[in-house]
């Protein structure tokens, strides 16, 4: 079939006078790797004998995860006071950690859904791992509000399930909206992740040599045969799920921000919260993607699949969203000054110069100043430095939620009821443990499921184009 672009009769006259500069697109897969190389590379991660680093890290992750479970066990048997929650600060680290982990998840959906709709082909190298990160981050996030309710055995009252008291959830509460938003987010992300994985699970099934491996992956692959009649429905469903996930991911952090913005606490009651939270979520999520992918890329030698172009793009998104977050910090101050509301003005002056100013300046330096280093190509090419900057971003975004939650509650309208909140050791253990819990889930994913979407990576190679010769 002749390529329609070759024999176009209407060649613009300008092309006779000027010679356009050649601007080749950066290759997505380096060294012109073939389909079989991609299959081998990704399947080997699952098929090779369990590496030592994995066993050591997994054991360490399990140990760290135990801190969460011991912490939660202590909390349930004692009461939420064990979390350092008392008047006036009723939302301590639990809510900070919840918003932190939910935010981490957003980059995964951005990569899998929004970049899919925008036809950003570079997303294929990182989308599977980023989606896994989303799901596991939401698992960690969900723990905190679940146990924050106090009597966790009544947590099911949050769901519209008939109970003997004959009462129902109150749908006017943003906290109830959050239940729907986060559980929908978790469900849809899992469906999207699993559906995208089916063809790759089929590949692992077809290469399986032991019966248990064959049985396990056959079950998961659902009998996928890769017929184009199947691909046609699959691609349509994939596109639709991307289209559904896009408004979903924007709504989730919007609704998380409503938890704050719908109240009338100074510093919380602002209309900037939804876009500001969403930008911050994507910012922190991309930092987490790089934090996870840079070591994995080095361990599994994925340099051809995840190359400098991918890292550059992610760094630039971090730079863009970090700058948006910085702009939002500035806007908050301006609006507080402009509002003429003395409580609002105080809330912001207090954030920057009050008893929690140390947290505020950690936040600003990590979130606004460090990402500016990504303007420089030399920095983006130094992967150790990229990794360290991403850690700073993760720290900064945790402090952002700390500043928002704690400063407004500790110093609100009545000076007589002000206080100073400090976390307890139970808080610290529980939060520390969630990194272990997250790592346990992520390590299991790396070991047993396809880390990169093979089919999608193959699709963006030059030899996948039916009209290329």
């Amino acid at each position: 079939m002749a390529n329609a672009h070759d024999s176009s009769p209407e060649r613009p006259a300008i092309l006779d006078r000027v010679r356009p500069a050649e601007l080749p697109r950066s290759p997505l897969i380096l060294n012109n790797r073939g389909f079989h190389w991609i299959t081998d590379k990704v399947c080997a991660i699952v098929e090779e004998p369990t590496p030592l680093w994995w066993k050591v890290t997994f054991a360490a992750a399990l140990f760290i995860a135990s801190f969460t479970f011991v912490g939660l066990g202590y909390l349930v048997s004692t009461g939420t006071g064990a979390w350092g929650l008392r008047s006036p600060v009723g939302w301590g680290w639990a809510i900070v950690n919840f918003v932190f982990w939910v935010g981490i998840g957003h980059a995964g959906t951005l990569i899998s859904a929004i970049l899919c709709l925008l036809r950003q082909k570079w997303r294929t190298s990182i989308n599977r791992a980023a989606e896994a990160m989303t799901i596991f981050a939401v698992c960690c996030a969900g723990l905190f509000p679940l146990f924050h309710v106090g009597r966790v055995w009544f947590a099911w009252w949050l769901f519209p399930i008939p109970n003997q008291n004959g009462i129902w959830p109150q749908f006017r509460s943003p906290l109830e909206w959050d239940v729907f938003a986060v559980s929908t987010y978790f469900t849809v992300s899992t469906l999207f992740w699993y559906m995208g994985m089916i063809p790759d699970l089929g590949t692992i099934r077809d290469r399986a040599t032991t019966w248990w491996r064959k049985a396990f992956y056959s079950l998961l692959a659902m009998g996928w045969r890769g017929g184009n009649r199947q691909w046609s429905n699959f691609e349509m469903a994939y596109l639709l799920l991307a289209g559904l996930s896009t408004p979903l991911v924007l709504s989730v952090h919007t609704i998380v921000s409503f938890d704050f913005a719908v109240s009338n606490v100074p510093g919380w009651h602002t209309t900037i919260f939804p876009p500001y939270f969403v930008a911050g979520a994507i910012f922190s999520g991309f930092a987490m993607v790089l934090t996870l992918m840079l070591p994995l890329r080095a361990i599994y030698r994925l340099h051809d699949v995840i190359n400098q172009y991918h890292i550059d793009n992610m760094c630039k998104i971090i730079l863009a969203t970090g700058t948006m977050v910085g702009y939002a910090y500035a806007t908050e101050f301006f609006i507080a000054a402009y509002s003429g509301n003395s409580f609002e003005k105080f809330a912001f002056v207090n954030r920057a110069f009050g008893q929690y100013s140390w947290a505020y300046w950690i936040m600003v330096s990590c979130n606004v100043i460090t990402p500016q280093l990504f303007w420089f190509k030399k920095v983006r090419e130094n992967h150790s430095l990229v990794w360290i900057i991403c850690l700073f971003v993760n720290v900064g975004m945790w402090f952002e939620r700390f500043v928002i939650t704690i400063t407004s509650l500790a110093n609100d309208y009545l000076p007589s009821s002000w206080g100073y909140y400090s976390p307890t050791i139970v808080d610290i253990f529980t939060f520390f443990g969630t990194f272990g819990f997250f790592s346990v889930l992520f390590l299991l994913f790396v070991r047993f499921l396809p880390l990169l979407p093979m089919a999608e990576v193959k699709m963006v190679t030059p030899q996948a184009d039916p009209h290329a010769h």
Partner: protein
């Protein structure tokens, strides 16, 4: 169809290049085949047109799911907060579409996603763990780097020898008969 074909599922032939299988598919389409498929390790851009496939019906179930979700969200919040246990909050109406809108919105997306996800399974007839193709040794490479055209025996045009020759003329490499 003659008796000999009864236990035959079809004829398969493999290709190594994307462009080869693409042009072969166009010829199978032009020859008027109905029951056939192109098995590939990844979706090939433009293959739907090359095979003459209609648009996928999955969006219908997405729409159905979305409408169901919207109605479910409205009914859920109306029944619980306004009908079964009406509660006056701030002197506002018992129910309006505004205050529970986030809940309705999430229900719409959730059910639409279910419609899409299960729609994909329904229209692809999955799960389907037993299929004659899985017995074919060459088929295990189709999820790796090989492309395969399968002409099925239930197509009225199918005749074992002629179909085999037809596939040969398309430039296929390895021709195999698939038995049920």
């Amino acid at each position: 169809m003659n008796e000999r074909n009864e236990r035959i599922h079809g004829v398969a032939c493999t290709f190594r290049q994307v462009s080869d299988v693409f042009h072969a598919a166009e010829q199978v389409r032009d020859a008027g085949w109905k029951n056939w498929d192109v098995h590939t390790p990844f979706p090939i851009h433009g293959m739907d047109q090359a095979m003459g496939l209609p648009r996928s019906p999955v969006p219908r179930l997405t729409l159905l799911g979305g409408i169901t979700g919207f109605i479910t969200g409205c009914l859920l919040t109306w029944y619980m907060n306004s009908y079964d246990y009406p509660l006056i909050v701030g002197g506002k109406p018992y129910w309006s579409v505004i205050f529970p809108f986030p809940v309705i919105y999430e229900c719409t997306i959730l059910f639409a996603a279910f419609g899409t996800f299960f729609g994909q399974f329904i229209f692809n007839r999955l799960p389907h763990h037993h299929h004659p193709l899985f017995d074919l040794p060459q088929f295990s490479r189709v999820s790796d780097d090989t492309f395969m055209i399968v002409l099925e025996a239930r197509d009225p045009q199918f005749h074992l020898d002629e179909s085999r020759n037809f596939l040969l003329s398309l430039g296929g490499q390895e021709i195999t008969v698939i038995r049920d």
